[in-house]
């Protein structure tokens, strides 16, 4: 197992940046998720770590060893491709054994290792089939087995669940997580699905437009997004973001309501040098507390029953829609007026100019 260090790594295709200078240290045994919308440079980053793509500038270190210019075959890294890349002319067994044969391993040992990993992934019964005859989930397992069998220093996985049905995806997500817990192998996992990222990552690297927006644990990126992009991107729905004005008594919402601010935030906002007190106020749906005595007003625009809770779509006086979580049995007629408060501890503030979070 190994730690991976990227130092000022960047990639340009022609004049276009696919990845802007990126610094990242991945600890031994860590499960890192690269998360971001399509085209933001996740695959390119992974390919640079594997050596399939040369860096334009920067250094890549594996366990302190500079591998920037080593051939992929010399890096001892396994790659699980987005569409599996199983060899259709070989049986599942030969696919799995393929990496071991590169190392010239003895036949009986190859057999043993393939049997072990097949048992681990419960694919013993399909080893003699060709990939074309396997279901998506089994193809995925074979691809994982091919990566695991070598016991590489690190795993790179590029949207490994993207090609699966929703049904399989849940199962495989749990399986990959469990495999990681059992093996404790350094893993870099790429996805554009924030739910998957939150569920799997020890830490999440959020990218957008070739730039890393934030690196943090799922809790950190959820509760303390570094900027407006992360605030919107993480969570479903994302963080509520409304233009507000900081006043001595609290934050004035569009349409007039005044939400009290904790002392901690008041000090932070005073020190942030905002002109005329304009901020973007962010709060998660669970910060909304609907009750009759609330200081803020809104109209019920829609409500979605989610089984365990109700997601209220509330229309503020200026027409802006925010999302709030309410109890499952809360009865709110459409169009009716409700009152609510915001949990002061769960309020976040962003600089409207720079779009960066104001830190407390």
């Amino acid at each position: 197992m190994a730690n991976i260090e990227l130092r000022g790594v960047e990639k340009k295709f022609g004049d276009v940046f696919a990845v802007k200078p990126l610094d990242l240290t991945i600890k031994d045994g860590e499960f890192i998720v690269l998360l971001g919308p399509s085209g933001c440079g996740k695959t390119t980053t992974l390919r640079m770590i594997s050596g399939l793509e040369a860096v334009t500038v920067g250094q890549i270190l594996l366990d302190g060893r500079d591998v920037t210019w080593l051939h992929p075959s010399e890096r001892d890294i396994a790659f699980v491709f987005q569409f599996f890349a199983l060899y259709s002319h070989m049986s599942a067994r030969d696919n799995i054994a393929f990496p071991l044969q590169a190392a010239g391993m003895a036949r009986h040992e190859v057999k043993e290792r393939v049997a072990q990993v097949a048992a681990l992934l419960r694919i013993d019964h399909i080893l003699d089939r060709k990939p074309g005859a396997l279901s998506g989930g089994d193809q995925q397992r074979v691809a994982l087995a091919r990566a695991l069998v070598r016991r590489p220093a690190a795993f790179l996985m590029d949207e490994p669940l993207g090609a699966l049905d929703a049904e399989f995806r849940e199962t495989m997500r749990a399986e990959i997580k469990k495999l990681h817990l059992a093996q404790h192998a350094t893993t870099v996992y790429v996805t554009h699905d924030q739910i998957e990222a939150m569920a799997m990552g020890d830490r999440i690297v959020i990218m957008s437009a070739a730039v890393v927006q934030q690196v943090g644990t799922p809790t950190e990126v959820y509760h303390n997004p570094a900027n407006l992009f992360v605030a919107r991107f993480i969570g479903s729905p994302g963080m509520n973001l409304v233009k507000a004005k900081v006043e001595p008594d609290g934050a004035r919402l569009p349409g007039g309501g005044l939400a009290p601010i904790s002392d901690r935030w008041r000090r932070a906002l005073e020190g942030s040098g905002l002109e005329d007190g304009s901020v973007v106020l962010g709060f998660r749906p669970e910060a909304v507390q609907v009750h009759d005595g609330g200081a803020l007003r809104a109209g019920v625009y829609a409500d979605d029953l989610h089984g365990g809770y109700t997601m209220l779509h509330l229309e503020l006086a200026d027409g802006e829609i925010i999302h709030g979580r309410a109890a499952r049995d809360a009865m709110n007629a459409l169009g009716s007026a409700v009152r609510f408060d915001l949990d002061p501890d769960m309020m976040r503030f962003f600089n409207p100019e720079t779009e960066m979070a104001i830190l407390s």
């Binding site: 399939l52 569409f83 890349a85 259709s88």
Partner: protein, 331 residues
């Protein structure tokens, strides 16, 4: 839940689409099959006729009306494969007394001839086999290497180079027969196997690069990339992964190149005379003395046809099979 993502990879043994099982559709498909069979039969008539003629005696071959039923004879093959001399009447009488004659000698004797040795045809057929076989191996071998390079690497001036290669094919070969003839005589390649192999390889290469590039473009790069991260060099990945995946393309290219060099007539006529003479320019020369030896010509054509049929038959699976890329799914 409908497994939409998996659907195309599941084998559909019997189509259940309405437009495939309705009575009308079934009648249509039967009619289509019948037409296909009829067309195939019509196409096969000349070939069948040739095969029959090859086994006819000289009178049967030119009989009017043509004979469909006849007593098979190896006369044509004997004429094709041997050289003979005409016997005088006295000699014929002597020969008829002899008991040591083989069956071929007896066939020749019917026409008053004695076999003096093998003809040049077997050697010409062998020349054809060597020249077209070796040139096909070269043009497919070099073709697959350069197609791979064009497909995978940022070759400088790639498009211009590819067009240049293709443009080689646009030149009608006949136009350059004389210059090549003169050059070959100068450098001593005239009437040599090497000269013909070189020429056919050059002619087939442009075609094989283009054809194979199409097939290799279809093989996802991830295949080789997976092999490379798994510890293989690019060359190993090429051999273990790309070549097996390109089998269909290689088979098709092989058949095309083989047929071209096997059938090539104009250059063979100009550039070979004896040592490296191939079969195509020789078959019309089996005309024989006194009357056209139709049976011998048909026998020669049949012998000439068979190797191509065998190769095509052996590779038919690859030729017919669509290009399938198994587990990689395009998203």
């Amino acid at each position: 839940m409908a497994n939409v993502a998996n659907a195309p990879r599941q084998k559909v043994v019997i189509s259940t689409r309405v437009d495939k099982v309705s009575t009308g559709a079934r009648v249509t498909s039967s009619v289509r099959a019948a037409i296909a069979v009829i067309v195939a039969l019509i196409m096969l008539i000349p070939v069948a006729w040739m095969a029959m003629t090859a086994f006819k005696t000289r009178p049967d071959a030119v009989a009017v009306p043509p004979k469909v039923f006849f007593e098979p004879s190896f006369e044509g093959f004997v004429s094709l494969l041997t050289s003979r001399r005409q016997l005088t009447n006295d000699e014929i009488a002597v020969y008829q007394q002899r008991t040591d004659l083989g069956w071929a000698d007896q066939i020749a004797l019917i026409r008053g001839q004695a076999i003096t040795g093998p003809s040049a045809f077997p050697r010409q057929l062998l020349n054809s086999l060597i020249i077209s076989g070796v040139s096909t191996v070269f043009s497919v071998g070099f073709g697959v290497l350069s197609a791979y390079a064009f497909s995978r690497f940022p070759v400088p001036g790639k498009d211009d180079l590819l067009f240049f290669i293709l443009s080689q094919r646009m030149l009608p070969p006949v136009v350059v027969t004389i210059p090549i003839f003169l050059m070959y005589r100068q450098v001593g390649l005239h009437d040599t196997h090497i000269g013909m192999v070189l020429l056919y390889t050059a002619f087939n290469l442009s075609f094989s690069v283009w054809l194979l590039k199409g097939f290799i473009d279809e093989i996802p790069r991830e295949y080789e990339e997976a092999a490379m991260v798994d510890g293989y060099t690019r060359l190993q990945a090429f051999r273990r992964i790309v070549l097996p995946q390109a089998t269909t393309g290689i088979a098709a290219t092989t058949v095309f190149s083989l047929i071209f060099s096997w059938n090539e007539y104009a250059f063979a006529l100009m550039l070979t005379s004896d040592a490296a003479r191939t079969a195509p320019p020789s078959i019309p020369l089996v005309l024989g003395t006194g009357g056209i030896e139709w049976a011998a010509i048909a026998a020669g054509s049949l012998a000439f046809l068979i190797p191509v049929v065998i190769i095509t038959f052996l590779l038919r699976k690859h030729l017919l099979r669509g290009v399938t890329f198994g587990a990689i799914r395009k998203g």
